[in-house]
């Protein structure tokens, strides 16, 4: 499956936002309304979905949907 679609699925599940709002530029905290716990859940969700580990330092840099996609691409 397309990485964007898979990432969207995780975001919809964890943040409860509508799929249309999830654009590559969308920022998790400012645009999608995530709080600090949401972002941790999101990272854990991405780890589960893509079977990878994201360190705290790496997670810190994932601020937008595109950041997440690029990170996952770099690991595949």
């Amino acid at each position: 499956m397309d990485i964007l679609e898979s990432v969207k699925e995780v975001i919809v599940e964890k943040l409860g936002v509508e799929a249309e709002k999830i654009t590559p530029e969308a920022r998790f905290i400012e645009d999608l309304g995530a709080d600090s716990l949401d972002t941790v859940e999101l990272i854990m969700g991405l780890e589960d979905k893509f079977g990878l580990e994201i360190s705290d330092e790496e997670a810190e840099k994932i601020r937008t949907v595109q950041d997440a996609i690029s990170f996952i691409q770099s690991k595949q």
Partner: protein, 245 residues
């Protein structure tokens, strides 16, 4: 109906908690360290009291990570986990100057580190459900101190701080974390004490008697109910009035 894991529930206070939750219709995972037969008997009694499902799981919480495995096993067996009661505990009482490193490490592992491992695993499960109840069984000695129990008291006091922090972290996810601090409760341990020692204890207890395991269990059952949704991070002393605060 909720799904609950009570650690150390083959006897004593843990058993009373398991049976109280059973009588309120909850599904149960009964955990034991060594006494499988006793745990099976508790499961049987739990079913008789109205628990729709009661499974028995053995785990040695003296082993790092065993507690996390116990929580996943309970989650798998019950098909979910809403309630975790961290009750299992050990003692290795002796005066500080005679306390061996092993006495310290064993008590901190089972009474504090295992609770960290179990709670971390349980919170991950409860976050997804957006509902959860965790109760850590501390002790009044964790508040008052007690000679001969530096290791035990350090762990029980540590639990209270742990409870407060985790309570604040997951409050927005419908998860509450509280502690219950029993005082002197009728148990295998207190049954072995000489009468003179019990008489000394009684002088410190305004109610004038030892507590019953069921009286601790009622407090736990309340804290894990929907009625206690607005109580979070507290330590409830069930001690006949020894430690008002």
């Amino acid at each position: 109906m909720r799904k609950a894991l009570v650690t150390g529930s083959s006897r004593g206070i843990g058993k009373a908690i398991a049976l109280e939750l059973a009588s309120r219709g909850h599904a149960l995972a009964i955990h034991y360290a060594a006494s499988k037969d006793a745990a099976e008997a508790v499961a049987e009694e739990a079913r008789a009291k109205g628990s729709p499902q009661a499974v028995v799981i053995g785990a040695d919480l003296g082993t790092p990570q065993a507690a996390a495995g116990l929580v996943s096993e309970a989650n798998a067996a019950l098909g979910g986990l809403d309630i975790l009661v961290n009750n299992a505990g050990i003692t290795r009482d002796t005066l500080l100057i005679r306390m061996k490193d092993e006495d310290w490490d064993a008590v901190i592992q089972t009474n504090l580190s295992a609770i960290f491992h179990a709670t971390r695993e349980a919170v991950k499960i409860m976050m997804r459900a957006k509902w959860g109840r965790i109760v850590n069984i501390s002790s009044v000695v964790g508040i008052l101190g007690n000679p001969g129990q530096a290791n035990y008291v350090a762990a029980k006091a540590g639990l209270i701080g742990f409870t407060k922090s985790v309570a604040k972290e997951y409050a927005t996810r419908g998860i509450t974390v509280n502690a219950v601090a029993p005082g002197f409760i009728e148990s295998d341990m207190t049954a072995k004490l000489p009468e003179s020692v019990v008489a000394e204890y009684l002088k410190q207890i305004p109610v004038g008697r030892l507590g019953k395991p069921e009286e601790v269990a009622k407090a736990v059952a309340f804290l894990v109910s929907d009625d206690a949704a607005y109580i979070n991070g507290q330590t409830l002393c069930v001690d006949g009035g020894m430690t008002p605060h």
